[in-house]
């Protein structure tokens, strides 16, 4: 068999009933258009509206094939789907970019990246990360930076990311200040992020000596975002309440849990 021979196959890995992965290897020139159209027909017949074209093994794509991809992408987009490219090798990627294809198609490093993007964009699936750390104030800045980076990386504006960062800072500082200070205890932050909102859940072990003070402290902040001028305590919680869309604090003898929801305000 010629090394450059064109081979196409639909991946048997079932990602979702709506997603098809078409793997292409070899030279995709004019003679391959009919084969490509045939696969598009199969994918349409299976009612799959999101097509990931794995081009990792492709050595050349002719402009006619690119036109075919554009036409099929339009059909899928009309049905609420998409056609994206994955695994583009350097030279092919450069050529497609020169042709402006990157303005029409989304490029992903590999099929997995394209699947993750599908889950994020179309299934509105959230991503989550859990961080645990001991109650040291010095570790709060790295934690807030982590959350801020993840927010910006997932398309949140700098302003939104900064507000989320501020919330994390306040909640974690409170956990350190009012929670059990034992270096063996831990603060656990769970971040869940989707296209529309960020949810934070911060838990820490309670300090029996501080529980009653803490309960008093959260009363005005939870009930109102107004804090008196002389009332320095509780300002952090008032700030969180002001910056977030929902805040819920639970205090038990075992631990304190703060749940914050922050809706995305700006689209980039």
């Amino acid at each position: 068999m010629n090394n450059n021979a064109l081979v196409m196959e639909i991946s048997s890995d079932e990602v979702s009933s709506e997603v098809a992965v078409l793997k292409i290897t070899g030279f995709l020139d004019f003679s391959g258009i009919a084969m490509l159209s045939g696969f598009f027909g199969k994918i349409t017949a299976e009612n799959k509206n999101y097509l990931i074209v794995d081009l990792a093994g492709v050595e050349m794509i002719c402009s006619a094939a690119l036109g075919e991809f554009m036409g099929y992408r339009k059909k899928l987009a009309d049905k609420g789907g998409n056609l994206v490219f994955a695994g583009l090798a350097g030279a092919i990627r450069s050529k497609l970019t020169l042709l402006g294809a990157n303005k029409i198609f989304s490029f992903y490093h590999d099929v997995r990246g394209a699947i993750n993007a599908y889950k994020w964009d179309y299934k509105k699936q959230s991503k989550s990360i859990t961080v645990s750390f001991p109650p040291f104030l010095k570790l709060v800045p790295p934690v807030r930076q982590l959350v801020s980076r993840l927010a910006r990386q997932n398309g949140y504006s700098t302003k939104d990311a900064f507000r989320i960062e501020t919330i994390v800072d306040e909640v974690c500082n409170n956990a350190v200040e009012h929670g059990l200070g034992d270096p063996g205890s831990e603060i656990v932050l769970r971040l869940s992020i989707d296209k529309e909102k960020v949810e934070l859940n911060v838990t820490n072990q309670s300090d029996p000596e501080k529980i009653s003070t803490l309960r008093e402290l959260i009363k005005p902040a939870v009930q109102s975002d107004h804090v008196g001028d002389d009332d320095k305590r509780g300002r952090g919680l008032a700030l969180i309440r002001m910056l977030s869309n929902n805040m819920d604090v639970k205090i038990t003898e075992r631990g304190t849990s703060v749940h914050v929801v922050k809706l995305r305000e700006e689209q980039q």
Binding site: T130, S132, F133, K138, L139, Q145
Partner: protein
């Protein structure tokens, strides 16, 4: 309160390589606020990056819903990084065992395009010890120890 050694920070992340840059920075910054030098922190970042990429790509394969667990125990004189994944295929585990158990590279790195090859060679160069543990359910855990070599 300043940090008290030893302490442990843990991160559980989904198998999404896009999360790794933010996570490695987090560990690096935690080390720097704990008095480790920027150089030490950056080299630890490289270790975390390589081991986590292997865990996501080969350990958890394409299963984006599987988690990778990273634990970083920070001592005054060293850091111990443990990364756990779901283990992946038998072939990938064998390849990983081979990569971990072969001797430390000397001189320039080999031109190795094998998965779990180049990354672990760099990890070996930057670390004191590297150990692999695979349990009966194929859950894989890599433990890397890096000793402090300078003061901040």
């Amino acid at each position: 309160m300043s940090v008290a050694f030893p302490y442990t920070i843990g991160v559980k992340l989904q198998s999404d390589p896009d999360v790794i840059p933010a996570m490695r920075k987090f560990i690096s910054e935690a080390l720097q606020v704990s008095g480790f030098s920027a150089k030490f922190a950056f080299r630890t970042e490289i270790i975390v990056d390589a081991v986590c990429n292997n865990a996501i790509i080969y350990g958890n394969e394409s299963n984006a819903d599987s988690e990778v667990e990273v634990s970083c125990k920070v001592h005054e004189d060293r850091v111990e990084v443990v990364v756990k994944d779901r283990g992946g295929s038998v072939e990938n585990i064998e390849r990983l065992k081979e990569a971990v158990n072969c001797s430390k590279p000397e001189g320039p790195l080999a031109d190795d395009s094998e998965p779990a090859g180049m990354g672990l060679e760099i990890v070996k160069l930057l670390s004191e010890t590297i150990e692999l543990d695979v349990d009966e359910n194929n859950l894989t855990s890599i433990r890397v120890v890096r000793k402090r070599e300078d003061t901040a």
